[in-house]
């Protein structure tokens, strides 16, 4: 559904996105992970036609993002990293305006207001909405044209845990309906929960790309932290026969209080790959 080949974007000679090559299959939820300034938003801007690539190629549904931009527009929905709504207008008026641009009817507006749980607040002006409500409305706006590809740029940034959870549930349900989702985030748990595959981006380059499970297995440690009833902690390796024997003995003696697997998180993998935190 999305394909890029050696995609490059430079700003005044500074490389923001460097030779990106990847492919996202139809119906896949794809995570694009990286710290601020890694090039995530620049990539989305190029794929959605807001920015021209300096070089390289990219296509959505086999339409070239530069030459066939007009054909791509009806196929995509975008949730921007900023809450760009008309603050003086109501939620319904915001959606109605964009529905007119897409040429879709009012029924779709009402259905989406209900889907994101804003039907009761539809008449209220956006300026009184919480960040979570605005974010839900942004998702509703991006879904007006029933897009084949949905771009979500940091959709849960700055939201409280409950609001973030509601957004994640919406994204999960979209993945189930067969919509291709291109998600950028720097929340690793979010990507782990939602994405079939993820790509790590650092300084404009993809440094790793696979399923979250494979990445964790590849870069994680096969160890467990064991706490015994005397309060002592022990780090055991799954690959050491001596550690397996020790564990068996403690279990037999009933000394084991807790066992924590030391499977790597995606964040650990990223730090291991880049030597830096995801901030």
């Amino acid at each position: 559904m999305i394909q890029t080949e050696s995609l490059v974007r430079k700003y005044n000679g500074v490389v923001a996105v460097d030779q990106l090559t990847f492919r996202v299959e139809a119906g896949e939820v794809f995570g694009f992970l990286g710290p601020n300034g890694a090039g995530k938003t620049t990539t989305i801007m190029m794929l959605t036609g807001q920015l021209r690539p300096t070089s390289g190629k990219a296509s959505i549904a086999e339409y070239d993002i530069v030459k066939q931009r007009a054909k791509i527009k009806p196929l995509i929905g975008v949730v921007f990293e900023y809450q760009n709504l008309y603050e003086r207008m109501s939620a319904r008026d915001n959606l109605t305006f964009f529905a007119q641009l897409h040429g879709v009817g009012k029924n779709r507006v009402e259905a989406l207001l209900e889907q994101v749980g804003l039907q009761d607040r539809a008449k209220e002006k956006i300026k009184v909405f919480s960040n979570g409500m605005k974010q839900r409305l942004l998702i509703a706006r991006a879904l007006l044209n029933e897009p084949k590809v949905l771009f979500l740029d940091e959709p849960t940034r700055g939201l409280d845990p409950a609001a973030a959870r509601a957004i994640r549930e919406t994204i999960e349900s979209l993945g189930e309906t067969g919509t291709t989702v291109f998600l950028t985030t720097h929340y690793m748990e979010e990507a782990d929960q939602l994405c079939r595959r993820v790509a790590f981006l650092s300084e404009g380059k993809i440094i790793a790309m696979d399923t979250p499970r494979n990445l964790k297995l590849k870069y994680g440690e096969r160890k467990a932290r064991v706490i015994l009833d005397d309060g002592s902690e022990h780090l055991l390796s799954f690959d050491e026969a001596a550690d397996a024997a020790r564990m068996e003995q403690w279990m037999r003696d009933g000394k084991v209080l807790t066992v924590h697997s030391m499977e790597a998180s995606l964040e650990d993998v990223f730090i291991q790959l880049t030597g830096r935190m995801l901030l």
Binding site: Y82, N84, L101, R141
Partner: protein, 365 residues
């Protein structure tokens, strides 16, 4: 161009501007000022005392009485007319010959003595109204021999003067002066402040990015803003004209001039909006932009004899100058001379539209 998209953008902006308190004030300000000044000056400026003598019955008497802001005094002796004008108790004197109406009907070109003291502005305005009244009576352009007499002619004035380049406010009374001024303010504020604000706000609040990922293009957005700017300019100007009895003289040329200036100013507004990316920059610069745009219009209204052509020629090229010239001539019933202003405004609008298209192409590239 996607008309559906442009109309949606225009409809949204039209309502959004009314919800924005700051823009609403800017939209209403010229209309409010026109009402206030119209009310304050209506009684004092136009009450023209006319001394009138006719040896017999004439329908013209009733026609003059029906004129707006004319106070008529009938006298029994033609010398009394001159005396009243001379001592200032009447601004204008009219003396008709015997059987004026009958001679008019027989196309005998009757004389009409028009006496005034030293205010040719009032006299010329009254003479035009008088000719319209006579045309109303005879049903065709009047064949009347008007004999004008100035009791104390002002120095330097006289017949054979060529059409003035500046000083167009001399042809209209104070009420007309204010109409021209408020119309200029309305089209400048709507075109060069409201329109750029609507465009720059979209950029500043990043809503433009949201529009541009839909099937809408930047050209469609620009056309929507152009439409809303035109609608606000025409509504404001039309209201100012209507509320202040501005559709007098040659209303068709006045309307044409207003349509063209609205178009030109809105296009200038779009160019300004295209250059500026955030509201704080626009707010900082708007005053510096609006003043030079309005200044030529203000200067067009005042006489500028002896001023270097190096200064006056660029001023004449400005749209607001042509607005004041065209509208003042239209209001004073000299619409025939205002066509050159209409043509200049049309050419300028075409050039400005080309500039907007060029800036759009640059943006796309």
């Amino acid at each position: 161009m996607n008309l559906r998209v442009s109309l949606s953008v225009a409809r949204k902006d039209f309502i959004d501007a009314l919800r924005n308190a700051r823009l609403l004030v800017v939209i209403l300000m010229p209309i409010g000022f026109s009402l206030l000044y119209g009310y304050l000056f209506r009684e004092s400026i136009n009450e023209t005392e006319v001394a009138f003598y006719t040896p017999d019955e004439t329908e013209l008497l009733a026609a003059i009485q029906a004129m707006d802001n004319v106070s008529l005094t009938s006298v029994t002796d033609p010398r009394e007319v001159e005396a009243k004008v001379d001592n200032g108790s009447a601004a204008i004197g009219v003396i008709l010959p015997a059987e004026f109406d009958a001679k008019l009907r027989r196309d005998e070109q009757p004389d009409l003595d028009l006496i005034f003291k030293d205010d040719p502005e009032i006299a010329s305005g009254f003479q035009r109204a008088l000719m319209q009244a006579i045309e109303g009576l005879s049903g065709r352009p009047p064949i009347v021999n008007v004999v004008s007499r100035t009791l104390h002619p002002a120095q330097g004035s006289g017949e054979g003067t060529s059409e003035p380049i500046f000083g167009f406010f001399e042809d209209i009374q104070l009420q007309g002066y204010f109409i021209v001024l408020w119309v200029m303010m309305a089209v400048t504020m709507n075109g060069c402040f409201i329109v750029p604000t609507l465009l720059v706000e979209e950029k500043d609040h990043k809503t433009l990015a949201a529009i541009l990922v839909t099937p809408a293009g930047y050209f469609d957005v620009i056309m929507g803003k152009l439409l809303v700017g035109l609608i606000y300019s025409l509504l404001s100007s039309g209201l100012i004209m209507f509320l202040n009895d501005g559709f007098t003289g040659d209303p068709l040329i006045s309307i044409l001039i207003i349509v063209l200036i609205s178009l030109a100013m809105t296009l200038i507004g779009l160019l300004i909006g295209g250059l500026i990316d955030n509201m704080s920059t626009l707010n900082t610069w708007s005053g510096f932009i609006l003043l030079p745009l309005m200044l030529p219009g203000i200067l067009a209204g005042v006489p500028m004899e002896g001023v270097s052509p190096l200064l006056t020629t660029p001023l004449q090229a400005m749209p607001t100058f042509q607005l004041v010239r065209g509208l003042a001539l239209g209001l004073s019933g000299q619409g025939g001379q205002a066509w050159s202003s209409a043509v200049i405004l049309l050419v300028e609008s075409a050039l400005l539209f080309a500039a907007v298209l060029w800036s759009l192409r640059r943006r796309e590239a």
